[in-house]
């Protein structure tokens, strides 16, 4: 189990290399539209979160994920629903 804040903090850490200098990641920062993540980079981020939280993240959630908040909500839900 992981709290939303923990999920958010780790997502922000992973995304930090993708931000422009001086830009701070907010909950409403959009992964593709703002940070310009490619599909490959999105998948690498998903794999790192799977490792960090020992959770499986289905690809099916991706259409629902646009922002950092969306991903944090999904990650919290998955960590709480998987044994």
């Amino acid at each position: 189990m992981a709290a939303y804040e923990d999920c958010l903090a780790r997502i922000c850490e992973i995304l930090d290399p993708f931000t422009k200098q001086g830009h701070i990641i907010q909950e409403d920062t959009e992964l593709v539209a703002e940070l310009g993540l490619s599909s490959l980079q999105v998948m690498e981020m998903i794999e790192r979160l799977e490792d960090d939280f020992d959770v499986s993240i289905p690809l099916n959630i991706l259409p629902e994920v646009r922002s950092v908040r969306d991903l944090g909500v999904q990650l919290e839900r998955l960590t709480n629903s998987q044994p």
Binding site: S38, S39, L40, M43, E47, E50, D54, V55, S56, I57, P58, L59, N60, Q82, P83
Partner: protein
């Protein structure tokens, strides 16, 4: 905002390529001369990017069988396998495939894409789980998306990651379909199939292997990676294509499960399309027989594969992890890839240009596929053309 806006990134890339006068994705083979030669961009080239692994597209027996079929049975079936589109040849090919693989039954599809997409989308459904290798072919991904199943990936050939995913699934492995490929189409590397099978035995699940690029290439009799690894009994479904080693078009699935005969009637990609033309079925049946009867084709293919792999490696190209009939050279930029691809054409060699996101990483690839039909002299010319890429002048201008 209109329905065309989402295609703008493609239009931009296409425009950039046209500006520099190179558009590899619109390549026309103006004349096909043989299994290994053609005219491209007005230039006579050796074809080293066709997946024509056994070189059977111009085999006289295959051509004679196709010609006889078109004369006796017409140009097309004009109907679904489930309606009027199953001719005696389609049924015979299914029997021959089942016999070749030692399986209960086989299904023949009109395209390899329809076989992999169809099996993925139909075998698993809502409530089930698909666990696929990250480098799986687009047809597998498309099928998974259509299935309604939960889709999980494991890093390419990473057995630790596969095991973690299986462990986390717990009891749900009983309705999990694991998918991997015999030889991966971009880099030519194999799945660690014995390890995948060991994990499947430990955790449960079903296993589907796509042998599109390994049929005719691996195994003592050419049945693919499952045969080579000695794990055919543990593979639940094998899918493959006729458009590579068998030199035609179409796809298939074979299985040890008798349920495949029922699944046939749930496969939308089998039902809602016209069946393969009689000539295609006729040449495929002969090609399958030739593949079984002439193992020397496989020997020659691997001689050529090893020669190209070692040759490119010796020139300093960064290439795939193991010798294979698919040999891919990594290039760091799209500009370099385009320049090298054009230079190879000018030097008489056609290969495939693969740019992200079609490549499995951010690198671009010059992807070669060798054929049993390539002569030693043609292999010399392919290697000589690659050697010109290493000359300082071209290497510098491509950076």
């Amino acid at each position: 905002m209109n329905i065309f806006d989402k295609f703008q990134p493609i239009a931009t890339v296409r425009g950039e390529m046209e500006d520099i006068g190179v558009f590899p994705f619109g390549t026309v083979t103006e004349k096909i001369i043989s299994a290994t030669e053609g005219i491209v961009n007005g230039q006579r080239v050796i074809l080293a990017g066709t997946n024509n692994y056994l070189g059977l597209t111009f085999d006289p027996e295959c051509i004679a069988a196709a010609r006889k079929a078109v004369e006796e049975e017409g140009t097309g079936t004009t109907g679904s396998r489930m309606a009027n589109g199953t001719y005696a040849g389609h049924a015979a090919l299914e029997h021959e495939l089942a016999d070749f693989f030692g399986c209960e039954s086989a299904i023949v599809f009109s395209a390899g894409y329809l076989a992999t997409m169809g099996m993925g989308s139909t075998l698993a459904g809502p409530g089930d789980v698909i666990l696929l290798d990250a480098d799986s072919h687009a047809s597998i991904y498309d099928g998974c998306r259509m299935s309604g199943a939960e889709i999980l990936r494991f890093r390419h050939n990473d057995m630790g990651h596969l095991e973690k995913q299986l462990r986390r699934l717990g009891d749900r492995t009983s309705n999990t379909l694991i998918i991997a490929e015999g030889i991966y189409s971009m880099l030519g590397d194999r799945a660690p199939l014995a390890d995948i099978v060991a994990l499947k035995r430990r955790y449960g699940g079903y296993l589907l292997i796509d042998e599109a690029h390994s049929l005719g290439m691996l195994g003592a009799t050419g049945r693919g990676l499952a045969e080579e690894a000695g794990v055919e009994e543990d593979v639940d479904f094998i899918v493959g294509t006729f458009s590579k080693s068998l030199g035609a078009t179409g796809g298939f699935c074979v299985s040890r499960h008798k349920e495949l005969e029922v699944i046939r009637y749930a496969l939308r990609s089998y039902i809602f399309t016209a069946s393969s033309s009689p000539s295609v079925i006729a040449s495929t049946r002969v090609a399958l027989r030739i593949m079984r009867e002439r193992p020397e084709l496989r020997v020659r293919l691997w001689e050529n594969a090893r020669r190209l792999y070692e040759g490119l490696k010796g020139m300093g190209f960064q290439i795939g992890p193991e010798p294979s009939p698919v040999v891919a050279a990594y290039l760091q930029s799209r500009e370099q890839a385009l320049a090298y691809w054009s230079a190879l054409i000018e030097n008489g060699v056609y290969v495939n240009l693969i740019l992200p996101p079609a490549s499995p990483s951010t690198a671009s690839l010059l992807r070669c596929s060798v054929s049993a039909a390539h002569t030693p002299e043609q292999m010399d010319l392919i290697l000589a053309a690659f050697a010109t890429l290493c000359e300082p002048k071209l290497a510098a201008t491509a950076k």
